[in-house]
Symmetry: C2
Subunit: 136 residues, 2 copies
């Protein structure tokens, strides 16, 4: 994740302790935290960080393309730092766990022209649902 900090600095981001902590919290694979979870974890390292800053920073990371916003359940949005390798999501209907997955094929190609209603289709977002080993 330090390469993330590097990239951000190169783009002229002012590096504050808040932003550093948020970037650290988002480090790892299969990380899909809500803004609130990010806030809780960030607070453990930097007690006075505010909710507004967490929302601001996550929003910036999303517009910079460094983090992806995922809504798997219609409730709080989740933030996925694995933005540089295209992937889809597998969600457990029992406990809500989310995993990054890589289906075969090109999903957009599976939508025939006569089903496109004249749209220019650029992207397909897939949410697989099922039960994880411990919820089965």
């Amino acid at each position: 994740m330090s390469d993330l900090l590097e990239r951000l600095r190169e783009r002229g981001w002012r590096m504050t302790s808040q932003r550093r902590v948020i970037a650290e919290v988002l480090d790892g694979d299969h990380v899909h935290l809500t803004a609130d979870e990010v806030h809780v974890r960030a607070t453990r390292r930097l007690p006075e960080i505010s909710r507004a800053t967490v929302y601001n920073t996550l929003g910036e990371l999303v517009s910079l393309g460094e983090v992806i916003e995922v809504s798997t359940d219609g409730r709080a949005k989740r933030y996925d730092p694995n933005a540089h390798r295209p992937h889809q999501h597998l969600v457990c209907s029992g406990c809500g766990t989310v995993r990054d997955v890589h289906p075969t094929g090109n999903p957009v190609a599976d939508l025939p022209a006569e089903e496109r209603f004249g749209f220019t289709v650029s992207e397909a977002e897939i949410t697989y649902r099922g039960l994880c080993p411990s919820c089965t």
Copy 2:
């Protein structure tokens, strides 16, 4: 949609004017209204219908499997009465218009075993995004 009312009556639904109006509002193809939009339209026919009733009724229709809940944008959920023919959604990134679409192939099959993390995968929900003819 009268067949919907029929099915509901058979399942022992008490038929009230509120429920009838909500079912009528949801009639049609490519209908993807938010709860609030349903409420506004229902109010035109039955001025004193309450928000709570709209939410209750939509929730019941969803648990009965007569309506599908769709969250295309992480904001308000949308309600799709086309529940008896499996389909996916194509959303315009410009204006938010939603169309029901039918991709070829079986999306669940495109997720290889080694990408399933031991989950029992039962379903795949696809959101295609792009620009509609008038937003292009």
